[in-house]
């Protein structure tokens, strides 16, 4: 049965295919076949004694109309519907080619709309939707998040300790498999070419979560990922293997230096494998215990990573057993976490589980879908919604244009109906045209997304990569679907209109007035556009104000001219004195460069890391109650390099050596908090070096007061900072700040190469503009502002074009009426006011509806803003003004045209 069906279908398809694509040959064969029949018939008659010509004549008569037979046979061949579509397509193409301006504006409008959506889909897909490639049983795989309550506040983390990971393995009953993973940046390569690249640190069980057979070699096993120290092996990523080794199979067994460790290459991942790629695509994967052991060794305290709980660095991946629900898995993990909590409590001070309420949850693997998603993902989702709105506006515009054209073509259409074209036929024709427009718009959109997309990706994604729209199947499929939906949407209204067209009324001469009355659909679309523009522009206004507010925050230090230089000795053990000397040489070398204004050392970087140090102040009872103090240890020139003002007294200078007077600089906030109403200068701060030693260190005398800086947060006010000379406490720390002339990013590479020469052994320096530290903090507002402004502007432009075309069309339709009015004594000012009034009315309705929608949405936008209310009246006022202004501009041209109508010409026209 099935075979028959298959063979039938096959022969059917083959037949149709031939009929369609070898039309000439098929026609010729049919002709030959029928001619053969004729000749046979004639031959038979001739054999019966008839003359040749007479025989042919008789045969032909008997045969009937040759062409009719051909037609009937052709109908059987089943290509006619394809031919009809072909006909419609050709008709539509001809129509579009005949009006290049109309076609171009429609394709451009749809292209921008679709392009925006395609680009945003690509980003949202990558951020939120796409699961990591090769992941096996993805629906049962989760990332484990841990939550506990600290002083009434819930803290949720996705990173935890190795010991905890072991506890989960021991106590969890719902997990079929458990793996750990982390991403760390390591220097790979040597000398000036050494680069820090992301490396995946994973347990051997990690590989079992993927259906990803290695492209070469093998993965490491539990025997190589053993406590305490894993084997020195590495699995390279396919991309790195291709880039560095040209995909050569003999890399297996070769050695590669990763960070401080020479490792043996044992395998290569398949192409496209990225692990979980939380912070960029790893170039290699190393055993978790190899890394953990290395870190334990580096810290001279020799932390015991697998028995203690003071180093959280990894994420836990779990695969549920089949049949275990997510809720049950979370409950089981919570139970394991509580047991683990108690174990931790036995060795370090912790609140009891009953008050801290430790709980674990099985959440999505994709980081941005979990509880700790960044605002960027949320904003990307918003922008995707915005892009959809822009597309709607674009569709409304195009529908409007098509509708206007359909109205102009009513007589042509009515004529065709009169000539016998069926409505279904007209409908398919109209739809063919709009689908064709949608397809062209889709192509334009993909092109737009390909260009604009790169910019968007760079803004949204930490590591944009080289992913191109054209090469991404999912995004392309999305573009295709968008094009078809848009084509349908856009064609719907005019198609319905064409189908409804009243024959008699349209054929009547002078039926323009009636036509004009029918444009209610267009008015509705217009008001909708206005309202949507208002919503987007309000969003734009709110985000622009947020960004402005964020930028206006006084950080207390400069960002753009500052570079961070971080030397890394790569495992080389140097005595403290030599390390201190190296740091001093780095500063001296940097200062000698012409592009450098100043350079200084410091141990902590604002918005990156911070240091605390216990201290007492004679005469002040427990400074700890005043809040959290941050300490910076800095060298001379630090304040000048950072651009932090010294309010009074003096900064830290070259005088403040280890053997000099111990000094300190405090922030204004700290001075006011610790010594209220007194002069802080000359006061004493005593550092507590260790808890076991009762007597505090000697006094650091306060010599200066600096302005407050923002240490951690743009929103919270941290004002308690103090500074001591680095030479007097941790001279061996090596971080260097460089202040350049002009923009720091431009000089970063030159400075890196210059300072790299000073590094001993395989050591290297990393140079990073302070802007890169701050950018992630501004990114969500930057993104929101840029995208809303771009899309809001686009929406406004589209709405303006829509308004213009509707008003211009109305004026054209009413020329006669206007002529009559003018003839009856209306002044051109009245006519102008009448037309403008119409445009303004639409705008006002749009503003009202859009305003209400925007207010309604404010509660969701609110949390994404920075010190601006989502109902900020100024924003609403400005947006209303902009929309009204645009409406006036858009209706001014047709209004002037209307005012200039010559009644003689207008009345004679019909």
């Amino acid at each position: 049965m099935l075979r028959d069906w298959l063979s039938d279908t096959w022969s059917d398809m083959r037949y149709r295919f031939r009929a369609l694509f070898h039309r000439g040959a098929v026609e010729q064969e049919l002709e030959d076949e029928l001619q053969f029949h004729l000749h046979q018939q004639a031959a038979k008659l001739e054999a019966g004694g008839m003359g040749h010509d007479e025989a042919m004549r008789r045969a032909r008569i008997a045969f009937g109309g040759l062409d009719r037979i051909k037609d009937d046979t052709r109908d059987v061949s089943g290509v006619s519907w394809i031919e009809i579509i072909g006909q419609d397509l050709r008709y539509a193409l001809r129509g579009l080619r005949a009006r290049p301006v109309f076609t171009a504006s429609v394709v451009l409008t749809l292209g921008l709309g679709i392009g925006a959506n395609v680009a945003m889909f690509g980003i949202v897909d990558q951020l939120l939707l796409r699961i990591p490639p090769y992941l096996r049983d993805a629906e049962r795989v989760h990332r484990v998040y841990l939550t506990y309550t600290n002083r009434g506040e819930d803290i949720t983390e996705s990173t935890t300790e190795f010991t905890r990971y072991l506890d989960f393995g021991r106590y969890s009953k719902s997990a079929e498999a458990l793996a750990l993973f982390a991403e760390r940046r390591f220097a790979i390569g040597a000398g000036e070419d050494a680069r820090e690249l992301p490396v995946g640190v994973v347990s051997a069980s990690f590989w079992g979560f993927f259906d990803a057979p290695p492209a070469a070699g093998r993965y490491f096993t539990t025997r190589e990922d053993t406590i305490p120290e894993g084997a020195p092996v590495v699995v390279l990523s396919y991309a790195y293997w291709q880039a560095q080794y040209g995909g050569s199979p003999d890399v297996i067994g070769r050695s590669i230096q990763i960070g401080p460790m020479p490792l043996t290459i044992i395998g290569v991942t398949p192409p496209g494998f990225v692990g979980l790629a939380d912070e960029g695509t790893p170039v290699a994967f190393i055993p978790s215990t190899l890394y953990a052991y290395g870190v334990s060794q580096q810290r001279r305290g020799r932390i015991n990573y697998y028995t203690t709980y003071n180093w959280g660095w990894l994420s836990v991946l779990v695969r549920r057993k089949p049949g275990v629900s997510v809720a049950a898995a979370s409950a089981d993990l919570t139970n394991a976490y509580r047991l683990s909590w108690e174990l931790e409590r036995a060795i370090s001070p912790l609140p009891p589980a009953d008050s801290a309420r430790p709980r674990a949850a099985a959440e999505p693997v994709v980081l941005e879908r979990g509880p700790n998603a960044s605002p960027v993902a949320r904003i990307a989702a918003w922008i995707a919604g915005v892009a959809a709105i822009v597309l709607l506006i674009a569709c409304a515009n195009v529908a409007n244009l098509l509708l206007a054209r359909a109205l102009f073509r009513r007589r042509e259409i009515a004529l065709r109906i009169a000539l016998g074209a069926s409505r279904a036929r007209l409908l398919t024709q109209a739809l063919t045209e709009s689908l064709l427009l949608g397809a062209l718009g889709g192509v334009a959109g993909v092109a737009a997304a390909q260009w604009g997309g790169a910019v968007l990706r760079a803004m949204f994604l930490a590591e944009p990569g080289d992913a191109s729209v054209v090469r991404d199947g999912r995004t392309l499929a999305f573009a295709g679907i968008a094009a078809v939906v848009v084509g349908m949407l856009v064609g719907l209204v005019p198609a319905l209109q064409a189908g409804r067209s009243a024959l008699a009324a349209s054929l009547k001469i002078g039926s323009r007035e009636g036509t004009y009355q029918r444009s209610r659909a267009r008015t509705l679309l217009l008001v909708l556009q206005g309202a949507l523009s208002v919503v987007l522009l309000v969003g734009a206004g709110l985000f622009v104000r947020s960004l402005h507010n964020v930028r206006a925050v006084d950080l207390g230090f400069d960002v753009d001219p500052v570079l961070l230089v971080m030397p890394n000795l790569r495992g080389l053990q140097l005595p403290p004195a030599e390390r201190a000397e190296l740091a001093r040489r780095l500063v001296t070398e940097a200062r000698s460069m012409p592009e450098v204004e100043s350079a200084a050392r410091g141990i902590s970087v604002p918005f990156w890391n911070n240091e605390g140090l216990g201290f007492v102040v004679p005469g002040v009872d427990s400074v700890g109650k005043l809040g959290r103090f941050y300490v910076q240890m800095a060298s001379a020139d630090f304040f000048r390099t950072m651009g932090t003002r010294i309010v009074r007294g003096r900064p830290i200078t070259e005088v403040d050596r280890a053997d000099g007077q111990l000094v300190a600089v405090v922030s204004e906030g700290m001075a006011a908090a610790v010594w209220p109403g007194q002069d802080a200068i000359g006061k004493c701060i005593q550092i507590i070096s260790s808890r076991t030693q009762p007597a505090p260190d000697p006094c650091h005398i306060v010599v200066g007061i600096a302005e407050n800086i923002r240490q951690n947060s743009l929103t919270e006010d941290q004002k308690l900072q103090w500074y001591i000379p680095i030479e007097q406490r941790r001279a061996e720390e090596a971080g260097v700040f460089v202040r350049t002339r002009g923009n720091a990013s431009a000089h970063a590479e030159a400075i890196r190469r210059r300072l790299q020469r000073l590094m001993p052994g395989a050591g290297y320096v990393t140079v990073m503009p302070m802007r890169e530290v701050m950018d992630p903090r501004h990114r969500s507002w930057q993104l929101g502002a840029t995208m809303f402004v771009v899309f809001g502007g686009l929406a406004l432009l589209l709405a303006a074009v829509g308004l213009y075309s509707v008003i211009a069309y109305a004026v054209a339709q009413r020329t006669q009426e206007i002529g009559v009015r003018i003839a009856l004594g209306a002044r051109s000012r009245d006519v102008l006011g009448m037309v403008l009034g119409q445009g303004l009315r639409y705008a006002l309705i749009g503003i009202a509806i859009g305003g209400v929608v925007a207010l309604w949405m404010s509660r969701w936008v609110g949390p994404l803003l920075f010190s601006v209310s989502a109902k900020d009246p100024a924003v609403y006022a400005i947006v209303s003004g902009v929309l009204l202004g645009t409406a006036i501009l858009a209706s001014m041209v047709p209004a002037l045209r209307a005012a200039r109508v010559d009644p003689n010409v207008a009345l004679r026209a019909e």
Binding site: S11, D12, F36, G65, I69
Partner: protein, 111 residues
């Protein structure tokens, strides 16, 4: 000017006749119509206007296949022959026809 000696073909029987005709061996369109005319003693004359559309329809359905070859008088002719699924179809339709005609005769012969 209808020829009284000819019969009108009931709907669908033309296909059956064509399938039967080509089941004997490859045959071109003219030969098929001649064969049916001769065998039916000229009672069944297939108008060309129905023959060729029917042939193409059957070819499309895969019941017959076509091949170009030389005719007896050495002209190029399109020969049709029965396919495997066409043979099944012929069997089915023959059976259906037989049971129909038997049933109809039974009714006509009653009483």
């Amino acid at each position: 000017m209808k020829d009284e000696s000819r019969l009108d073909l009931p709907q669908g029987t033309l296909d059956l006749l064509i399938l039967k005709a080509v089941s004997i061996g490859p045959m071109h369109g003219w030969a098929i119509s001649e064969r049916i005319r001769d065998v039916s003693r000229a009672a069944l004359q297939i108008p060309q206007g129905s023959l060729y559309p029917a042939l193409h329809r059957l070819e499309r359905r895969g019941w017959i296949s076509a091949e170009w070859g030389a005719s007896d008088n050495n002209r190029r002719a399109k020969y049709y022959q029965l396919t495997r699924s066409g043979r099944n179809q012929l069997q089915l339709e023959t059976d259906a026809w037989r049971s129909l005609t038997t049933a109809v005769s039974l009714v006509l012969d009653m009483g």
